[in-house]
């Protein structure tokens, strides 16, 4: 059989390699900054775009989509070519994908600090960027499937299955969760509201973890771990079995992010059950990875690459055991809204994603530059300091989470809250925040050492853009009858795979969504719940812009410790006009769902200017610009129109007079503030924010007795 000569495109792999390290540094640095801000709130320097709420999504997006994202592409572009024995389908698409993705990251790095956000975790980017992401993702898909179709290797190795599942599912997730109606350029509202929005968001959020941080990395593990260990994977059969069970089960587990929320009970239980089931396929992957090294543990001692990979796989096993445990309602009752969750995700991010990426980089860079790693010693140093960093990080956050949660729930023998002041529980854990920052710094130092090591490695080697290779053409695909591309496509397994994965993913999603959207009794309506006034709506958008929901939940769970502290627990029917929902996922500060009417306007005014004037020792940043910025009311009309189009019952024509109502309400609040001695003007942003805060949770306060039917 004649051998075909071709070459692998190493240049695109090199580009993604550089992008991975650069964005890794940026994302982790931003993480360090916000970790420090949590105990030095003045570090925002009173500048809006340096404030926690705005740069926290920058950290998460940079780490997930820039660092991990580029690492996925780096690994896929390297391994796919070799597994398929074919060059990437199109060089143009490769470069288009690369530069497009970097542009998206830059766009995120600009818009997020400026406050353009949808408020949905890990999907904060606004609609024009969402569209750009979809285009780049499709470009990546065409390039990947094109390569698979033109492959010279008949069989598709399991890593490719994971890549395909990743692509298919992320496409579905991104599209469904990004269905939003633009109100202006860079401002949109989701079509879903309240409970439904929450369900869709956490179906997305959970599966972003599953199909962006897990399945592609399992694919990388199945390729690079055997490469680094120079031995085949422990059990190929196990990899097939755990692939399908993982793809099937993962998609159901999303509601475990919403336990004890206003989500219907059946949906919560569904999330719990499937989360427990997830242990099996997750550990299938972990066991497969670890046992690949059976009988070769002596090599792990000497080889830093294997060290990184072993810890990565172990961290994966730990995180995927902890996850299902956190999905048990009794554990979740303690862990949710606390730093425990932060520990959990960072075991995954720092351990699994970070360490696997580092292992791959240490293997790949010498390979691409045709040389040896510059210093094994430095790589070992990186390993140990990084490992220590993870330990400091995880333990401090576990400790902090449990401590604070138990303090929230502590009653005195007389039956009143022992720590009624939320701030007291925060100050208790400040030392843990400092230790976390130390852990993060250790990890960051390790990464800097790695970058130095890799740059030195590259300098001593010689990079070749093209790597010549040859392989026999694939008989079956030779297509003697010239039946055309479509037929060839259907002949191969990729099509079957795409459709099977898609079916599996859609089954679960449909199961979750159909009843939720169809059955009316899932969201009991409450007659006294009314749409927001124009001023409150504007205030709500300021709340979203400053990402108050990063630190404050709007969801009182039905526990006595919470109803005592905050008031009546949250009902599904209260959120029907919340586009988007703002339940939050973390209580760095207290819950705000019942904050309306709790404090006078003046308290909020002074508190936003400097939180420590009202709550000495508070860790909340100051928001002085809200007192001086003019409220932009030119957007009111389009916002009312957009809200109506997604189902909020503003009467026709109301958008024309909405600003009259807005100004009238603003005037009232301003007068109240002036009477209290504050130099407030009605046209400032703070007025709108106060209006919104004072409205929160008051709809059912008025008619508490007949609140829920």
């Amino acid at each position: 059989m004649a051998l075909e000569k071709f070459s692998y495109d190493n240049e695109i792999v090199r580009k993604f390699t550089i992008a991975t390290t650069v964005w890794g540094l940026v994302g982790m640095l931003v993480g360090l900054i916000i970790a420090t801000q949590l105990f030095v709130p003045a570090l925002n320097l009173n500048i809006p775009f340096l404030t926690f709420g705005r740069i926290r999504p920058l950290h998460t997006n940079a780490v997930i989509f820039a660092f991990v994202g580029n690492a996925i592409f780096m690994g896929v572009y390297y391994s796919l070519q070799r597994l398929c024995k074919a060059r990437m389908f199109s060089d143009w698409l490769s470069n288009f994908h690369f530069w497009g993705w970097q542009l998206i990251i830059v766009a995120a790095a600009i818009t997020l600090p400026l406050g353009y956000t949808t408020s949905k975790e890990y999907a904060e980017l606004e609609w024009p960027i969402d569209i750009a992401i979809a285009i780049m993702w499709i470009a990546f898909g065409i390039n990947m499937f094109g390569t698979i179709i033109e492959r010279r290797e008949k069989h598709m190795y399991v890593a490719i299955w994971f890549y395909i599942a990743t692509w298919v599912t992320v496409t579905v997730l991104h599209v469904v969760n990004s269905i939003e109606i633009p109100a202006s350029f860079l401002k949109s509202y989701p079509v879903y509201a309240g409970v439904q929005d929450a369900l869709v968001q956490w179906w997305y959020g959970h599966n972003a973890v599953a199909f962006f941080l897990t399945t592609p990395y399992l694919g990388l593990m199945y390729y690079f771990l055997p490469k680094a260990a120079n031995r085949p994977i422990y059990s190929y059969k196990l990899s097939i079995l755990h692939f399908w069970s993982l793809v099937f089960i993962y998609i159901w587990a999303g509601p475990h992010h919403l336990l004890y929320s206003a989500l219907p009970d059946w949906a919560q239980s569904l999330g719990t059950v499937f989360s427990i089931m997830l242990i099996a396929p997750s550990w299938g992957g972990m066991i497969n990875g670890l046992l690949t090294l059976r009988g070769a543990w002596d090599r792990v001692r000497e080889n830093p690459i294997l060290k990184f990979m072993v810890v990565a796989v172990t961290a994966y096993g730990m995180a995927t055991f902890e996850g299902p445990m956190l999905s048990l309602k009794n554990v979740n009752a303690i862990a949710h809204f606390t730093d425990w969750i932060i520990a959990h995700v960072h075991v995954g991010a720092l351990g699994w994603n970070g360490f696997l990426t580092f292992g791959i980089l240490y293997w790949l860079v010498p390979k691409l530059w045709k040389t040896k790693l510059y210093s094994n010693k430095l790589a070992n140093f990186h390993f140990w300091i990084g490992f220590l960093g993870i330990v400091f990080y995880a333990f401090s956050m576990w400790f902090s989470g449990v401590t604070q949660s138990l303090m929230w729930k502590q009653f005195t023998p007389l039956g009143v809250l022992q720590y009624p002041n939320f701030l007291e529980t925060v100050l208790q854990i400040v030392p843990m925040y400092i230790i976390r920052m130390v852990g993060g710094s250790l990890y960051f130092v390790g990464v800097i050492v790695m970058v130095y090591n890799l740059v030195k490695t590259a300098k001593q080697g010689a990079f070749a853009k093209e790597e010549p290779a040859e392989a026999p053409a694939l008989e079956k695909f030779k297509d003697p009858l010239k039946r055309g591309v479509i037929h060839r496509f259907l002949e191969g397994k990729p099509a079957l795979f795409i459709s099977l994965t898609l079916v599996v993913v859609l089954i679960a999603s449909v199961f979750e969504f159909v009843p939720m959207f169809l059955i009316k009794s899932n969201i009991p309506t409450i007659a006294s719940v009314k749409p927001y006034t124009p001023l409150e709506l504007q205030g709500r958008d300021i709340y979203i812009r400053e990402a108050c929901n990063s630190c404050h939940s709007q969801l009182v769970r039905p526990f006595r410790s919470e109803t005592e502290r905050y008031g009546e627990y949250s009902k599904a029917g209260e959120f029907v006009y919340d586009h988007p929902f703002l339940w939050g996922s973390k209580r760095t500060g207290p819950d705000l769902h019942r904050v309306g009417g709790k404090y006078p306007n003046l308290w909020h005014y002074l508190h936003m200017e400097n939180p420590r004037s009202m709550s000495p020792g508070s860790l909340m940043p100051s928001y002085p610009w809200l007192l001086t910025n003019d409220l932009d009311i030119s957007t009111t009309e389009s916002k009312i129109n957009t809200m109506r189009s997604v189902g909020v019952p503003y009467t026709e024509g109301y958008e024309k007079v909405a600003n009259d109502d807005l100004q009238q309400q603003a005037e009232q609040i301003a007068v109240d503030l002036q009477n209290a001695g504050a130099p407030a003007e009605p046209n400032k942003e703070i007025i709108a924010l106060i209006a919104y805060l004072q409205r929160l949770g008051t709809d059912i306060k008025a008619k508490n007795n007949q609140a829920s039917k």
């Binding site: 597994l83 024995k85 190795y157 890593a159 079509v191 390729y223 085949p232 069970s245 089954i507 169809l518």
Partner: protein, 57 residues
């Protein structure tokens, strides 16, 4: 919006059950196949990432 679209499909619940059954059948079938599959094939598959270098120049 979704509600209207979904409600317009007759017997929408039926599809969910069918899809569930399809998946379970597929999963069971695959498991049986895994037990029966040729060991040589599995060995060849698992060595794919390691073989490629032989073919390079």
């Amino acid at each position: 919006m979704f509600k209207e679209v979904l409600q317009s499909i007759e017997g929408v619940e039926f599809y969910t059950i069918v899809s569930m059954i399809i998946f379970i059948l597929f999963f069971v079938g695959m498991t049986i196949w895994l037990f029966k599959v040729d060991k040589k094939y599995i060995k060849q598959m698992s060595e794919l990432p390691l073989n490629e270098e032989n073919k390079e120049i």
